[in-house]
């Protein structure tokens, strides 16, 4: 049953040191505010899960919070590499990090299997691909009807998933629209789910019945954080801050510069600051 909580409390109540946690979002609706709150609360030894770890994962890795990363594409989308991730993998700075690497198809199927309560997912994948040789969590089964060998991966079951969504109604049902990505699966696969939203409305009477709605009893906590996906975007609210993604490439290039930026923009900041960051991005739609 969804509780409406301030973000700091929602994070404190639902994330623990050592948790396997997914902050999901496929370019759209990335829960940046929730990540920044987790950074301020300084969790340790996290296993981070995400198909497309981007700059918010770069930030957590650079801050030394991460023990292991389960992922399928670790890049600054459309820009290039993740420099803090590189520094961790190549130089163990600020700490060594374990990688469990998959393809998108594998991760998508693994979340789907998690949501579906299955122990594993099967799909036609990894044929000829070398990841299957370096990741012991890529196995195979034989189709009992055709004999075809299919790839198998374990279901993803995070301890807690954080997502950002357009809105909740007063009962705590949550609406996600636009590029819906893997968010529904990430929430349903997790033991606990925290959602930041742009706003709360009275009801969803004007919402089409076939849209993606998470009923309130599938969500643990909801926090209202306008702009909480910045520099990602929220379809219908504000557009993507592409310039910030380009800029991140420079910020993350040097350790000191990165740390200074984090101090100023994350450690000394708060969830309410996000609203201001998207003010000039609201003209679209």
């Amino acid at each position: 049953m969804a509780k409406f909580l301030p973000l700091s409390q929602a994070v404190a109540d639902n994330l623990k040191d050592g948790d396997a946690v997914a902050f999901e979002g496929f370019t759209h609706l990335i829960p940046t505010a929730a990540v920044h709150e987790a950074i301020r609360q300084d969790f340790k030894d996290l296993t981070l899960i995400r198909m497309t770890p981007d700059l918010v994962y770069d930030q957590m890795i650079g801050m030394g919070m991460v023990k292991k990363l389960i992922f399928s594409y670790a890049g600054n989308p459309g820009v290039g590499l993740l420099r803090r991730l590189r520094d961790a993998v190549e130089n163990n700075w600020p700490r060594a990090i374990e990688l469990e690497e998959h393809s998108h198809a594998a991760m998508a199927n693994a979340y789907e299997a998690g949501a579906a309560g299955l122990p594993c997912a099967i799909f036609r994948g990894y044929r000829g691909a070398e990841l299957a040789k370096v990741n012991p969590n890529i196995k195979s089964i034989e189709c009992p009807f055709t004999g075809e060998k299919l790839a198998a991966v374990p279901a993803v079951r995070p301890d807690v998933t954080f997502i950002h969504a357009q809105k909740a109604n007063k009962k705590g049902d949550v609406l996600i629209e636009g590029i819906i990505g893997i968010q529904k699966e990430a929430v349903l696969a997790a033991k606990r789910a925290v959602v930041t939203v742009e706003e709360v409305v009275d009801d969803f009477d004007d919402v089409h019945p076939n849209l993606t709605v998470l009923p309130h009893w599938t969500v643990t906590a909801i926090s209202v954080v306008p702009g909480g996906a910045h520099p990602s975007y929220t379809h219908g609210y504000y557009i993507r801050d592409n310039a910030s993604y380009l800029e991140w490439d420079k910020i993350a290039a040097e350790r000191d510069q990165f740390l200074a930026w984090m101090q100023k923009n994350v450690m000394e900041s708060k969830p309410e600051d996000f609203a201001g960051r998207v003010e000039n991005l609201r003209d679209a739609k």
Binding site: F26, T27, H28, T32, L55, S72, Y73, A74, G75, P77, G78, L81, L82, V89, E90, E101, S103, H104, A105, A108, N109, F123, R124, Y126, R127, G128, A129, E130, L131, V134, K149, G178, I179, I180, G181, I182, T212, G227, H230, P231, H235, I239, R240, D241, N242, A243, S244, Y245, L246, E247, N265, V266, S269, D273, G276, R277, E279, N280, L281, A284
Partner: protein, 265 residues
């Protein structure tokens, strides 16, 4: 920006790639050069082409090129937007993609692609972003087109990691693995058009772009290049093609850099 020919090698590459696409193609589009080529095709000779981005947007028609595979523009202009599991299950694995369009950090003569690491996997010299959708795009799409600028660093004798399988060691290697799709059938670089030899599956230069020479192709390639018996010359970009590409890139630049920036990432 453009050379004495009035266009750059990169523009030629993108336009040559766009010409390979047909109106009834269903393209799974990667970001960068593939995205530009697909959209030039859509805006010129193939208005009915179906472009699919792995974020779930099907039949999209962006006015500017997306910076990421999930920009809002893609959803706004799509026929429909589905979840990511559905994208990979029903649309890619379901065999509905005619052309998977990939880029590469490293490629070998058989169209095998590395976007994972430079160096050893466990202790890499450079950790690259990884495969994303590519491992299954490479085997589930009916055909694969690859586009990349030539360099000795990128076109290598042996790739450091097999992120996506092309023709393996060549010949019938795909068939031996039970893969029944065609694999890489076209490689378009900034200098030439390459097609796999029908038997060995080694990429062979079939056409040189205007200004491209055999020597330049060999100098920027890490393996000994095979040329077809008859090597054609790629027709230069038409005025319409060039204008379409440049307008698209100008709109894109304005959109991405013009974005009013917030105070923090």
């Amino acid at each position: 920006m453009s050379n004495e020919l009035g266009f750059t090698p990169n523009e030629m590459m993108t336009i040559a790639a766009s010409r390979a696409l047909k109106g009834d193609d269903v393209c799974f589009v990667g970001i960068g050069a593939p995205s530009a080529a697909c959209n030039v095709a859509r805006l010129t000779h193939a208005p009915d082409i179906t472009l699919i981005y792995e974020s779930g947007t099907i039949g999209t028609a962006p006015d500017v090129l997306p910076l990421s595979i999930g920009d809002g523009e893609l959803c706004d202009t799509a026929v429909t937007t589905v979840s990511v599991p559905e994208m990979f299950r029903y649309w890619l694995q379901g065999g509905r993609i005619s052309i998977g369009f990939l880029g590469a950090a490293q490629i070998d003569r058989f169209g095998n692609i590395n976007t994972t690491v430079i160096g050893d996997y466990a202790h890499p010299k450079t950790r690259l972003p990884g495969g994303g959708g590519a491992p299954e795009i490479a085997t589930s799409s009916k055909e694969i087109y690859i586009t990349m600028a030539q360099s000795k660093r990128g076109m290598v004798e042996k790739i450091d990691f097999y992120t996506s399988f092309g023709h393996g060691d060549g010949g019938d290697h795909r068939k031996r693995l039970g893969i029944d799709t065609a694999g890489p059938t076209l490689l378009i670089t900034d200098l030439a058009i390459w097609k796999p030899d029908p038997v060995t599956k080694e990429f062979t230069v079939v056409s040189l772009h205007p200004g491209g020479t055999r020597e330049k192709v060999q100098e920027t390639c890490g393996w000994t290049v095979k040329f077809a018996e008859e090597v054609a010359t790629t027709p230069a970009p038409t005025e319409l093609e060039l204008k379409t590409l440049r307008d698209l890139q100008a709109r894109t630049k304005a959109a991405h850099e013009g974005t009013a920036k917030g105070k923090a990432a």
